[in-house]
Symmetry: C2
Subunit: 191 residues, 2 copies
DNA sequence: TAATATGGAATGAACGTTCATTCCATATTA
DNA sequence: TAATATGGAATGAACGTTCATTCCATATTA
């Protein structure tokens, strides 16, 4: 295994274990075993467990932005822009359940609170696109004139909730249901 | 301190510490200290930490139902019923931030996953009222005809998200903003 | 080219610490 | 006085991290 591969294996193992069992269900020894490396080896790649957890978070964040932005710039109509981003994000989550669960674990932990200080939720670039879109929406009076945080809640709250329910098997989302869910979110935020 | 008082003190201490710092930021010794009892004493009232955590959850659940049901039975119009329950729940959360944060911690932990198996989220009686209301709403064609889990997500997702943002200080909810938020949730679920 | 030396990566046993739980001498209650 | 409750020290399991040692690809030497 090359250096990069080994680092990736550690990431993968940590992602799997933490997404499924939480931070405390993923001891370093178990991560090492699943990654196929010695326990001490992890510390050659990551200073400590906190750093591993935080860097893995950034890694996952970095994967999402390009995916949801695919095809986005060409869309001009406001409503369709909203639907595109919402659908793409929801799709990403249900297609990458480990990533989703990891983000959830992270956000609902002491790590996450710190992060949410300056960006309410989600990835920083990603969040930037949404913020921009929402600010235009308010200015053009197509969206409700409420604080951004509330628009975010109306748009992302259901999205996260629905993604989790799908992943846990409480509901099965198909294309039709995804579309109707995002449209319902649109109903919530539009004027 | 009487037996009941002591039990209450343990509950209060556990609630405070867990709501603020999570389950792992609340060691039994710390709970005991804050409750003003010996570490061993807790085990006279609760078999172990799991039982303490689970019973505290039930305790909090039990407080919510009567509050949100106050005045509810007299309301006949469907939309107003929805707004009443939503508003009452959101109000309860922002007036009882420790309760809210505890429920969040619980739901986002291995304890919570188990609980969500048979009731998607929230208290069992509470959930029952909502389920009943939503089923009527679908039958009468005033709500969107999507799976219950999705209606729950559309109604509660934003509610939880907004409550958290308020408690963390990212937004300040006044009566007007609460009303507009719940009305936006209504827009999401209604036909 | 073959034999040897080198340095840094990898290993996993060992260590210190944290924590839930138990134990038991003492205090309180009936 | 007997029965019960209390508190906090003691226990042992679990965990993150360290570190002496091994391993191995590459460089150096003969």
């Amino acid at each position: 295994m090359s250096k990069v591969e080994k680092r990736d294996e550690i990431f993968r193992a940590a992602l799997e274990l933490i997404a499924e069992h939480g931070f405390h269900g993923a001891p370093m020894a178990m991560i090492a075993e699943r990654a196929g490396v010695g326990a001490g080896t992890i510390y050659r790649y990551f200073e400590n467990k906190d750093v591993l957890i935080t860097e893995l978070y950034s890694e996952i964040e970095g994967r999402i932005y390009p995916v949801i932005m695919e095809g986005y710039p060409e869309i001009k109509a406001f409503r369709e822009r909203f639907l595109h981003l919402g659908t793409a994000l929801l799709r990403y989550f249900i297609e990458n359940p480990l990533d989703f669960r990891y983000l959830e674990q992270f956000h609902n932990s002491p790590y996450g609170v710190e992060f949410r200080r300056d960006r309410l939720l989600g990835e920083i670039e990603e969040r930037f696109v949404f913020r921009e879109l929402f600010e235009v929406g308010i200015a053009q009076q197509v969206m409700k004139d409420v604080p951004l945080a509330i628009l975010f809640a109306l748009a992302f709250g259901p999205l996260l909730s629905v993604a989790r329910d799908h992943i846990l098997g409480f509901v099965t989302l198909d294309d039709d249901l995804i579309a109707r869910t995002i449209e319902a979110c649109w109903d919530a935020v539009r004027r």
